[in-house]
Subunit: 339 residues, 2 copies
DNA sequence: CAATAACAAGTAAACGATTACAATAATTAT
DNA sequence: ATAATTATTGTAATCGTTTACTTGTTATTG
């Protein structure tokens, strides 16, 4: 592979001129620009990124640390992030921390080693609790998870609001003993549980929330337990796509039909929620917007390290489907007038 | 951040010794090793990767180019690849080529710029047709797609065999007019169609295959068309998870029940295939093994550039479920005796 | 027309590691 | 005890860029 010296020699100019042309800098005449470009083409020259990064001290690389790319929510988000990044000639290093604080720490160290320009992070509960941007040698934008008092750039769903609306929808459709399965290991799960509890309280109902790991298997087990309760819940709210999946499996297993035996609703508008019969009522998350907003925030922070901290809060969209269909009119009517 | 010089000075040794200790090379006494380690700790030193890569001319980075990470098959594979890679201190650059040859070419150029140690590639049809490892400045391992005569390292499913078994299963369960929806843009789709056609031929049945883009929307449209045919197929075989999803949507839309109105079977054992009722018969792909095998092949190729070309062929596992349940005994008995 | 500004192009010093080679010290062999 | 060998350590060149600074030209201005 040709290097900058050979190109310079071939074009009859100095290496500085070649560098300037490659970087698109001003201060180079059209004539030399053309000669350089010709030489570049003739020699099939491409600047060496390692050398460039060493000298310029910038990598144009960002880290994306999520819990697990197999979680459809993160799959979508990462795709959005990568699309924007590559369009702007940035590289993305994707890492799966598996909600494991040690792994998360290891990946953050790796980001330091790579001298990344910035990181988009979906933090574990432990890290989020004491998160301060100043503790990191690079800009960080949080996604999906953020507490009310977190002083950091972040892009999140309004989880409390979304869960509130989802629970309120169930209540208004006549359900009373609504159980909630929420993710124990993330701030998001807690906030959704909070929104659910608030809705229950607003309608004078007793909440019954059960924490579960955000995996299909754990959710299935947790749902099984909830279904053993006496009296059995008449509706179930799942705080994420994976938990909804596990919960639905538990219902199938117990041969319970929705909405006849109990209603079902959850988060994340995944294709399969429209395939089961009846289709499942969900809160759709704007994953694409979320990913794009995150990388844009990051870019702005990189450009202006001292700008004020920003938080982008996105609204989830309630998709009403058959799984939460209105209950027998007798009870429903009663509630609606009581409101 | 401290650099190697400062560490050397702090430890009272030369930079060479520090470098040797960091690289874990032999030829350094235990005494100096300890002094260096102490200095490293004291100064919180981490070697600069850009400098190391520039000088050593190796990046310990691999590229992973797939069509779309949102395709669950690739989501799983990439997760497996990343797990193995990070364990060995390698970096992964993930790229989505969207079955677009131009994008694919752009990403391969990027791999060259990054001077990657190797690439794991799921090639477009166009590239695969004239694929020669020697055309690339880095080792390449193909995944998911590979022709019989491709002279390159590859890890693939035995697609023809898997599709044959899936089709044979339908036939043996009494179905006759079996339609096949296969991915038009990938070698995999074609091979699965081939296996399907072979099975149909073996049983003296007329194949009816329809090509579709491997997206949910396109598959739904294609399935609609197939369902319009007279006489209507009595079974449908979908050549990938996404196509199966779109096909299932089309069935729901047309209010057709499986297996009563027609049987259904496909590829990829995704969680939702067990959630619909009845559950769907599928070929499960060993995505984890596939990812691991790919990165291991790549490592061996990097270590021994001249070793013989290898192909790893994995077997899909048939998961029989309700969607392909045996048809009315009259016809079935007839066929089984005829075998 | 001289003085000054504006612009183009070149020179050479970084950036922070690795590594070939030389030099020295410590062992072992004779 | 000396030579030969081996194990450590240090010196300095090198990887391929970017960029501050210098020099040389050309255009502008009073």
């Amino acid at each position: 592979m040709a290097n900058i010296k050979e190109v310079a020699h071939h074009a009859g100019v100095s290496v500085a001129s070649v560098s300037r042309v490659m970087a698109g800098h001003a201060g180079v005449s059209e004539a030399t620009r053309q000669r350089v470009l010709a030489a570049v083409k003739a020699l099939d020259y491409r600047p060496d990124l390692a050398a460039r990064r060493l000298r310029s001290r910038r990598t144009d690389t960002i880290g994306l640390i999520v819990s697990d790319i197999r979680n459809p929510f993160f799959t979508e988000v990462s795709r959005a992030v990568e699309d924007v990044a590559y369009q702007q000639q940035w590289r993305v290093i994707l890492c799966n921390a598996d909600e494991n604080p040690d792994k998360e720490a290891a990946y953050l160290d790796l980001m330091r080693d790579e001298n990344v320009s910035g990181v988009i992070l979906s933090p574990t509960l432990a890290r989020l609790a004491r998160f301060r941007p100043a503790d990191y040698p690079f800009p960080v934008v949080l996604i999906d998870r953020c507490e009310r008092d977190t002083a950091a750039d972040a892009v999140v769903l309004d989880n409390v609001d979304a869960a509130y609306r989802l629970a309120a929808h169930l209540i208004e459709n006549g359900y009373r003993r609504i159980g909630c399965l929420y993710g124990a290991v993330s701030a998001t799960g807690h906030q959704r549980q909070e929104g659910y509890a608030a809705a229950m309280a607003a309608y004078g109902l007793k909440p019954q929330a059960v924490a579960a790991q955000a995996t299909i298997d754990q959710a299935r087990t947790a749902a099984r337990n909830l279904l053993q309760q006496e009296p059995r819940p008449d509706a179930l709210l799942a705080s994420s796509g994976l938990i909804l999946l596990g919960t639905t499996e538990a219902l199938r297993e117990a041969q319970l039909r929705f909405p006849e035996d109990l209603a079902l609703a959850g988060f994340d508008d995944l294709p399969w929620t429209r395939l089961v019969e009846p289709a499942i009522t969900v809160i759709a998350q704007p994953t694409d917007d979320l990913g794009r907003a995150a990388i844009h925030l990051l870019q702005q922070r990189i450009a202006q390290p001292d700008q004020a901290v920003r938080r982008v809060v996105l609204r989830g969209e309630l998709q009403v489907r058959g799984s939460s269909a209105r209950r027998s009119p007798i009870r429903t009517g009663h509630l609606l007038t009581a409101m």
